[in-house]
Each structure stands twice: as structure tokens, then as C-alpha cells.
Amino acid sequence: MSEALVLDAIAAPEALEAPVGVAGAGLLSIARVGACGVIERVSAFDGALPAPELERRLLELGFVEGARIEVLEEGLFGRDPIAVRLDDTRVAIRRREAAAIEIRFDSQADA
């Protein structure tokens, strides 16, 4: 997904409603508090950092395929940034960079 598309999704409020408790894949950038699942793919894009650099930083902080993730908190303005539980750690990230992280969300029954 291109960055522009992702940012559109952040801007459009209805897109924010989607993945709470709904099974299926989606981007971390549009996840709401309570959403949890497993990281399926980390694929960075060029932004403030070149894509390969962003990807490695995300990986180094623990955003790696297979890690369990849960959205814990969100900021006041534009629900940004977000705080997530990432396996045993807690990490804060802006939604902009979170768009590089694809999640397979748990279905409600599992959660």
C-alpha cells in the first residue's frame, strides 16, 4: 500500500472504525484501542526515513513478523500516536510509521 493511500485512510474517520475485534488483516495505522493480533508483515515505505532504514528500526524495536501486538492507548489529537503492547514490551509509535505494519487481527471469539 502506498503511503498516500495510508494517510488518506488516517484522514478518513470511517476507516478508523474498521478492525476492532474483526478478524482479518489490516494495517496497524488504522487499528483502534483494544485491537489485537499478530504481526503478519513489516514492509516500510519511504518517508521521514528511507524505507530500508525504517524497516530495520521497526525490526530492532521488536516489530517483527509473528510478534503479538495489542493497541493499548491512543493520543488525543487525531488518535495519534498509539501505544502498543509488543510481546513483553510496550512501544509508542506514530500512526504514520505504523502503516508499515500489517496485522492479522484476532477474531472476537479468540480475543
Binding site: 518517508g47 521521514a48 521497526l58 521488536g62 513478523e65 509473528g66 501505544a83 510481546d87 513483553d88 510496550r90
Partner: protein, 624 residues
């Protein structure tokens, strides 16, 4: 083993942030520490010494925290280069101590795997082992040690447990294990993924998850990170900190100031009138006093910062402020330095250390002096009191208060604007994404806090003082020499270099409505902003500006300054870099004269433009 001529051994501490590295460093070296800068970079170099039970001298280097040897910031580059033995002017460490938070092993295991590639002997210190035990975390130490190929020591840095064992293991490694081949290279994304997989496998095999994991952090976060409640709590915390600076630090600062004035008076009575007395009293004693007077504020601000950092709240504050600061291109962590700058830019500039990324930090330092510091208050009060009528506008607002508020707002807004301009014009690509770990909440350790506070104070006195004091003496020389000729009638300063400079730059300042008295007062006013009030008193020859003198000065200004001139002077003080102490600290913090020069120039340019616009605008409105 107990040779009398054992060569000193060098240890280097490496680890993720928030693993208790600083606490471990303190536990190892106690008070035998030295803080300096690495050559050529602004990264702090902390080294300490200890003597092992076998009598060996051990040097310990505390390296900046990192998640990877792949350096992303100047701090992390130091860590990488030190570990690889590439750091100019440094002897490579004999043994690396990899510090890990035992309750949070996954990320550090990946770092340990990277360290293994370096080939230098290393020992893994599983710190916070008390918490791990409390949580019922089961770690197979032997298995883990075999997998990573390094001995493991469990430690509780804050209780000084496991320290002797750590030293023993490090010594054994230094004696037995030669450095192997370095096969480290910057890992690619694929290699990081593979290392994660490996770390995951090791975790599965040797670490049984906590039986009673910490649930407090999540519970506290639900309150402290609440979108609205969290911001309210943060405002409260900041309000308390701000209050403390004024309620605790200012009286002490006043006391120090009074003490030095008293000392000056005492010295004046025992020295003959003349140059020596003036040098001692007005130059040296006043100069030393002007350095020490900042200490209470610095210590108060850092006391709060250390509590916030060690408890884990600092990362939350950055989280809450990130969006607001981010709109000006600043990092969330810039919030606290900028708030501190409202007390005084000096602790603010020093506090910018909490920002890792170089450009984020420099931007914050550059705009810190635009925040309205307490030294501007005497200047503002004098001018507002003299020239702004005490009327009520819109039924309830006091005009004088409104102007004061406007000056504060002008400082903040211009600061954010300057940051925005810097980030959009100059350092566009360098803007860091905000990504950080939110550490587990912990009780700050009093000993650690006090030790680090002591260190901050000493750094300020030793390093910044060495710059501030000579600059103060320079300002004194400028305002004292040469002496007025025999039978001169004007104030002595009029004949000094300061007077000459004042007269010289007066044509330059005429367009912004400054008369020659103001131009002269600006020169000694460089020592500190509030000195300008005293300097105006001197040039208008009212003598002591305390008490009655202040009233006298205000009434002189009332008759001699137009409203336009007064407003122009206020605008000047919002922006002008009228404080050599700040410039000195910026020099110390950025390790060179480049950034103080940039700061000085841009602030003067802004001050001139703002005063010009204010003066011309007011005159055009017919209030000249």
C-alpha cells in the same frame, strides 16, 4: 593471579535503554566517576574506576543505550565504535558487559547475538533480577549461557547485588579469553529477522514466562496515558515542577546572590578604593556569584527530570506531547526542556539531553532562549510599569497583565515558529519518526537520583562555569575601562568601552527607537537580562535601583521614553540573546562555537526586526 603488576582492565557497559545500566555503573564504580565529552562529538563520556578484590584496577566505560550496533544517532555511533574498538583516542575494551533487563530479554538477546559477532569477550549481566524473581520468571541460566556463548551473572544494581560476581567473571574473561575474530557487519533487514527468530528460539528453550507478570504498568498507563486525563495530569506535574523552581529555587538563588553581594561588600571594606577592589567585587565575586546563582534552578529542574526519567514517566510525557510538539517539527521530548526554559534557558538547554537525535536536540536548544525566562521579568515589569497605563480593557482585563501575557505568548509562538522554519527549511529530511519503548514503571532509587543530580551540578560548575566566568569578567572590563576623565560629569559608564560601543551602535539602533542610554545599557545587559535594569539605573544616574531607585527610574523612563520606544525595547527583550551565560552553556552542550554563534545571530536578527516592526507600527498608529 595476584600479581602485583596486573594491567588495568577495561570494561564497557552496553545495553538497551532502561535496563538499569546507569544504576549498574554507579554500583560498580561508586563515586569514582568522571564525566567528559568524546572528542569531536557532543556525546557524554562516563568513565569510572574500581579496584577488584584481587587488586586489579578496572576502568568502566558507560556507553549510550542502544538496541543495535547499527548506529542511528551520534550516541549510538559512540557505542558501536567503542565496542568495535574504532573510537579515536580510546583503548578498546577488554571485556564487554551486556546489561539486560531480566524481565524483558527478547530485544537484548538480539543485541547479544550481535555482540557475539564482534568477537570480543563479553558477559551478560541479567539485571533487575529481583523483579524477575518476584514475577516468578524462570530462566535456565546455564542453557542461556551456552546458547549465547558468554557467562551470565544475575544482578540487582540498585541493591548492589551480584556486583562482585560480575567483576570476578569479567576478570576471568580478561585473563583467559583472547579477543576473537570480528565478523560483525551492519545487519540487513533479513539478518535482523533471522536474529529475532534465533532470539525467539532461545527464549522458548530457556525462559519460562513470568507466573505473575507486572500488571501495574498497564493499569497506571490507563490513567496516565488517557487522552484527556493524561494531559491534565501532565499539566499538573509540570505546574508543580514550575512552582518548585520558583518556590524552592528562586529563594535559594536570591540567597546566593545576596551572599555574594554581602561578600562583595565585605571585600570592598578591606580593599582600597580603585581598580583592585572593582576587579574583585564587580568582576570576580559578582562573576562567580552569577555562575552559582543558576545552580538552584538547575538542580531543581534536574531533580524533576531524573524522577520522571527513572520512574518511566518521561517516555509517557513525550507520548502525550508528541502530536503538539510535532506540529512544530519538534520531538515530544522537547517539551520538558522548553518548559524548563521558562525558568531559565540554562537548565532548559542542559535538559535537551533527553532528546537523542542530534537535529531534534539542536532545534530545541536553539529555541530554548526564546521562552520567557525569569530574568526577563524585572525588565518587563519596569517597562510595563513605567509606560503601559494601568487601565482595564474589555471590562475585566488589566492592560498591564495583558501585555505581560502577550510577551510570554510571543516567546512561545516565536519559538515554535522558528522550530518549524528550521525543520522545514534546513533539516527537513532529518525529522525523526517518534518510536520509543515505554518502560515499565519503577520506583526511582534515591541514591541514583542524588548521584546523578550531583553530577549535573558539578558539570555545570566545572565546564559551563569555566566559560561563563571569563565572559562575565569581559563584560565587567568593557563597562569599567577606560575611566572617565578628571572632572567628568556624566555617568562613568558613558566613558567606558561599553559607552563607546553603545554610542557606536546607536545609529544602528536609532531606527528601532533606542536612545543612547538604552544602547549603552545593552552592553552590560549582556551579562544577564536583569542587569539591564541596573545598567539603565547607572546611565540615568539614579544609583541603586532597588526600592526607591526603581520608582525613580520608572518615572524617568516615563518622561524620557515614548510608548513606541518602550514597546520596542520590550520586543527586543523577547528575542535578543542578552545572556552570555546561556551562550556559554550552549557552547558547552554543543561542543563548539558554531551553534552559539548561530543562536546569537538569528536572535539578534529577530530582535531587530521585531523591534523595528513594533516601533514603526506604534509610531504609525500615532503613539510615537
Amino acid at each position: 593471579m595476584t600479581d602485583t603488576t596486573l594491567a588495568p582492565t577495561r570494561l564497557a557497559l552496553v545495553g538497551n535503554p532502561n535496563t538499569g545500566k546507569t544504576a549498574l555503573f554507579n554500583a560498580l564504580t561508586g563515586s569514582r566517576q568522571k564525566v567528559a565529552n568524546y572528542a569531536g562529538v557532543t556525546v557524554e563520556r562516563k568513565e569510572g574506576v574500581l579496584t577488584s578484590p584481587s587488586g586489579r584496577v578496572i576502568h568502566v566505560l558507560d556507553l549510550p543505550g542502544t538496541y543495535s550496533l547499527r548506529a542511528r544517532s551520534p550516541d549510538e555511533a559512540v557505542t558501536r565504535d567503542a565496542v568495535l574498538g574504532r573510537l579515536a583516542g580510546e583503548t578498546p575494551p577488554d571485556v564487554i558487559v551486556c546489561v539486560a533487563d531480566a524481565t524483558n530479554l527478547r530485544l537484548v538477546l538480539r543485541l547479544a547475538l550481535e555482540l557475539k559477532q564482534v568477537g570480543r569477550p563479553f558477559v551478560l549481566a541479567l539485571n533487575m533480577f529481583d523483579i524477575a524473581q518476584r514475577q516468578g520468571l524462570r530462566i535456565d541460566l546455564e542453557g542461556l549461557s551456552r546458547e549465547i556463548g558468554a557467562p551470565i551473572v544475575t544482578t540487582v544494581a540498585t541493591r548492589k547485588r551480584g556486583i562482585e560476581d560480575l567483576v570476578l567473571q569479567a576478570e576471568a574473561l580478561a585473563d583467559s579469553m583472547p579477543a576473537g575474530e570480528n565478523v560483525w557487519h551492519e545487519p540487513s533487514a533479513a539478518e535482523i529477522r533471522a536474529a529475532h527468530g534465533e532470539a525467539q528460539r532461545i527464549m522458548k528453550a530457556h525462559v519460562r514466562p513470568a507466573e505473575r507478570p507486572d500488571t501495574w504498568t498497564s493499569r497506571i498507563d490507563r490513567v496516565l496515558l488517557h487522552p484527556v486525563g493524561g494531559l491534565l495530569i501532565l499539566s499538573t506535574v509540570m505546574f508543580v515542577m514550575f512552582q518548585a523552581v520558583f518556590a524552592w529555587a528562586t529563594p535559594v538563588a536570591d540567597l546566593i546572590e545576596a551572599g555574594f553581594v554581602g561578600l562583595g561588600g565585605l571585600v570592598a571594606t578591606v580593599t582600597p578604593d580603585g581598580l583592585l577592589r572593582s576587579l574583585l567585587v564587580d568582576g570576580l565575586i559578582a562573576g562567580v556569584g552569577s555562575v552559582l546563582v543558576f545552580l538552584p534552578q538547575i538542580l531543581t529542574v534536574f531533580f524533576f527530570i531524573l524522577l520522571l526519567e527513572d520512574s518511566g514517566y518521561m517516555a509517557r510525557a513525550a507520548f502525550l506531547m508528541d502530536r503538539i510538539m510535532g506540529s512544530a517539527g519538534l520531538h515530544g521530548r522537547a517539551f520538558i526542556p522548553l518548559l524548563s526554559s521558562h525558568a531559565c534557558a540554562i537548565p532548559g538547554v542542559m535538559a535537551a539531553r533527553v532528546i537523542d537525535q542530534k537535529h531534534d536536540r539542536l532545534t530545541t536548544i536553539l529555541i530554548a532562549p526564546l521562552m520567557t525566562c525569569s530574568a526577563r521579568i524585572p525588565v518587563y515589569t519596569l517597562i510595563i510599569g513605567a509606560l503601559i497605563p494601568r487601565t482595564t480593557v474589555w471590562g475585566f482585563l488589566n492592560l498591564q497583565g495583558l501585555v505581560m501575557f502577550g510577551l510570554y505568548a510571543a516567546g512561545i509562538l516565536s519559538g515554535l515558529l522558528v522550530a518549524f522554519v528550521i525543520r522545514t527549511l534546513f533539516w527537513r529530511t532529518a525529522s525523526e519518526p517518534f518510536m520509543m519503548e515505554l518502560p515499565t514503571y519503577r520506583w526511582p532509587d534515591p541514591e541514583n537520583v542524588l548521584r546523578n543530580l550531583w553530577q549535573r551540578g558539578m558539570i555545570f560548575i566545572n565546564r559551563a562555569g569555566r566559560i561563563i566566568l571569563p565572559l562575565m569578567v569581559l563584560v565587567w572590563v568593557l563597562s569599567t575601562f577606560p575611566y572617565p576623565p578628571e572632572g567628568a560629569t556624566g555617568p562613568a559608564i558613558d566613558y567606558s568601552f561599553a559607552g563607546m560601543i553603545g554610542h557606536f551602535i546607536q545609529p544602528l539602533l536609532a531606527p528601532i527607537g533606542f536612545n543612547w542610554q538604552m544602547s549603552i545599557a545593552l552592553v552590560p545587559g549582556m551579562a544577564a537580562r536583569e542587569v539591564a535594569v541596573a545598567a539603565l539605573g547607572t546611565v540615568y544616574a539614579v544609583g541603586d535601583v532597588e526600592g526607591a531607585g526603581q520608582v525613580a527610574l520608572a518615572s524617568i523612563l516615563q518622561t524620557q521614553w515614548s510608548l513606541a520606544t518602550g514597546l520596542s525595547f520590550l520586543a527586543w527583550y523577547v528575542f535578543a540573546p542578552q545572556c552570555v551565560a546561556t551562550l556559554g552553556v550552549v557552547k558547552r552542550e554543543t561542543n563548539g562555537w558554531l551553534w552559539p554563534t548561530v543562536m546569537f545571530s538569528y536572535m539578534f536578527a529577530l530582535a531587530y526586526l521585531a523591534s523595528l516592526a513594533t516601533y514603526r507600527g506604534t509610531v504609525a498608529l500615532g503613539w510615537g
